[in-house]
């Protein structure tokens, strides 16, 4: 009788790279959180690996800064301290939109401490290049190209609008002196379609830049990177003009648009709160404040004792002031 010999074949040990483990984590966390199976295409797996590399670099950078600043009481920026279910969900949405974290200005991770979870929430902020990329894909008609140009005072720019005599909206733009273009006076975006009669010219003025600057209130960026901030504003303004196709809007698009808004507001609050020290100087109360807005003088009042006067110092009455309101 032939003896059957069972031989246990040793399976080769497969060492998974960190990025492969991250991809597996994303899939597993997504399944655990949403009870849904997820199959990533080879391209999506590559995007997940790129996202891992970007986040890993960002965490190393945050941690280095934390140590440099001697913030020992601040939770270390390590993978163990990251809110993974949220990261998995946010990652999937960005991967679904085809955003590549290794392309500059596609995705920037920013860490916020989540006190409920006692971990960091990573906000995967979508940059202006990423927004341009995914918004083109969800447009009703995908443009073949979009041109963005800042216009300087010494450039010449002439918009050519669509009318009865001209079927294609267009422009004439010339950089007269590339070495000294003067100050930025505005910008334009030109959205080009296969059918050129659909081409659209979007003009952004200096006043629009100012509105964005005021709305952002992120003085530091606007002060130090003015040209870049204006170019980003231009891209945002132009991509907002792309008409979104409701049929192409999916959960990932909705999630990224929503997170984008929340992240921007939180960043504004963080960048601008608790900055300038202010104090009051008792005894310095008489200023130019509190002048009445009309000609009628307040009834004379006599301050009691040696107290400071009850009314602020009055300014001369303006000649064009209105009459009594009461």
């Amino acid at each position: 009788m032939a003896q059957t010999q069972t031989q246990t074949a040793k399976a080769p040990v497969i060492e998974h790279t960190m990025s492969e483990r991250f991809t597996a984590m994303v899939v597993n966390e997504f399944r655990a959180a949403f009870g849904a199976e997820l199959q990533l295409s080879p391209m999506q797996k590559r995007l997940a690996q790129h996202l891992f590399i970007k986040i890993d670099q960002a965490l190393a950078s945050f941690e280095l800064k934390r140590l440099d600043e001697g913030k020992k009481d601040v939770l270390p920026y390590t993978w163990q301290n990251i809110n993974l279910p949220k990261l998995a969900s946010d990652s999937i949405h960005r991967i679904n939109l085809g955003l590549d974290a290794l392309i500059p200005n596609h995705i920037s991770p920013i860490a916020y401490y989540n006190k409920r979870e006692r971990k960091y929430d990573l906000d995967l902020r979508v940059g202006y290049v990423g927004k341009d990329y995914y918004r083109r894909k969800v447009a009703i008609t995908e443009p073949v190209d979009v041109i963005y140009e800042l216009v300087y005072s010494k450039d010449t720019f002439k918009p050519i609008k669509k009318n009865a005599a001209n079927a294609i909206e267009s422009f004439e733009f010339e950089i007269v002196n590339p070495w000294d273009r003067g100050e930025i006076v505005g910008g334009f975006g030109y959205i080009m379609y296969e059918d050129p009669t659909r081409n659209k010219l979007v003009i952004v003025t200096e006043k629009d830049f100012k509105k964005s600057e005021d709305a952002a209130k992120s003085g530091t960026f606007w002060k130090n990177y003015r040209t870049e901030m204006k170019f980003k504003t231009l891209v945002h303004r132009v991509t907002d003009k792309l008409t979104i196709d409701p049929a192409k809007v999916n959960e990932s698009y909705a999630a990224v648009e929503r997170d984008d808004a929340e992240g921007i507001i939180l960043a504004e609050i963080e960048a601008n709160s608790n900055k300038e020290p202010l104090d009051i100087e008792p005894g310095q109360g008489e200023t130019d404040q509190g002048q009445p807005e009309e000609t009628e003088q307040a009834p004379p009042e006599t301050p009691a004792g040696d107290q400071p006067p009850r009314q602020p110092k009055q300014q001369p009455i303006p000649q064009n002031a209105k009459g009594p309101g009461f």
Partner: protein
């Protein structure tokens, strides 16, 4: 210094701050009758009234106060938005200090969906009260050792997220809230950024009915600061 918060919500805001014989009203977002009732009908005893912005939950009784002879202090933008003028209406400017009797007041510019919203740093004798309601954040710190703090503490971002996920709150509402009201996280960061060694009371104002958790907010501020925390 004694603080009496008469009302603090989107339905109306008003509080009376008094020290000795002197009293100021902050906000007039309730009826003149309710203000009078809270002051035992001695409205004319007020040294003045400070109004943060033109929304009716802060300025409802402004005209009546002025008619009764109370000096009212508000920004020029607020006065213009309300279309109000008069010798009792005193336009004031952010970061320009003024006085009302023994009170010294420094208006501060805030971040809200109003024409020219203000908060107020109010000083009388050794007391320093900071009042900041209806703002997304406070751009300033106050090294002059505050003794009383009154801050809006409107919502929790976690509650907002949950409400949106449940479809209870429209996303556009969330953006508006975040851009014009202060969250518990922003309040805690503000308190961390300031010297609280002399602080006697911290008041949390204008809690949202739907997007806040009073007990949790109070506990978090108490835990972080170790101070008396009151919720209005």
């Amino acid at each position: 210094m004694h603080i009496n918060v008469i009302a603090s919500s989107s339905a109306g805001n008003a509080c009376i701050v008094s020290h000795g014989q002197h009293t100021v009203l902050i906000e007039a977002g309730i009826t003149i009758r309710d203000i009078g009732k809270a002051m035992s009908y001695h409205i004319t005893d007020l040294d003045g009234a400070l109004i943060s912005h033109e929304h009716m939950d802060h300025a409802k009784s402004l005209r009546e106060l002025a008619r009764l002879g109370v000096d009212c202090y508000l920004s020029k933008g607020t006065a213009e938005a309300l279309g109000i003028t008069g010798h009792r209406i005193h336009p004031v400017e952010a970061k320009k200090q003024f006085s009302i009797g023994p009170w010294f007041v420094l208006p501060i510019d805030l971040v809200h969906d109003a024409a020219e919203p203000l908060g107020f740093l109010i000083c009388i004798e050794d007391y320093r009260l900071l009042y900041a309601c209806d703002t997304a954040y406070i751009p300033y710190t106050f090294p002059g050792q505050l003794t009383h703090i009154m801050l809006e503490c409107n919502y929790s971002i976690e509650i907002l997220r949950e409400k949106i996920a449940a479809g209870v709150l429209p996303r556009v509402m969330k953006r508006r809230l975040m851009r014009s009201h202060m969250s518990i996280d922003t309040v805690l960061k503000f308190l961390r950024a300031n010297d609280l060694s002399r602080v006697q009371e911290i008041w949390l104002l204008h809690l949202s009915d739907r997007n806040s958790n009073e007990a949790q907010f109070k506990a978090e501020v108490q835990k972080q600061t170790g101070k008396i925390v009151k919720v209005a």
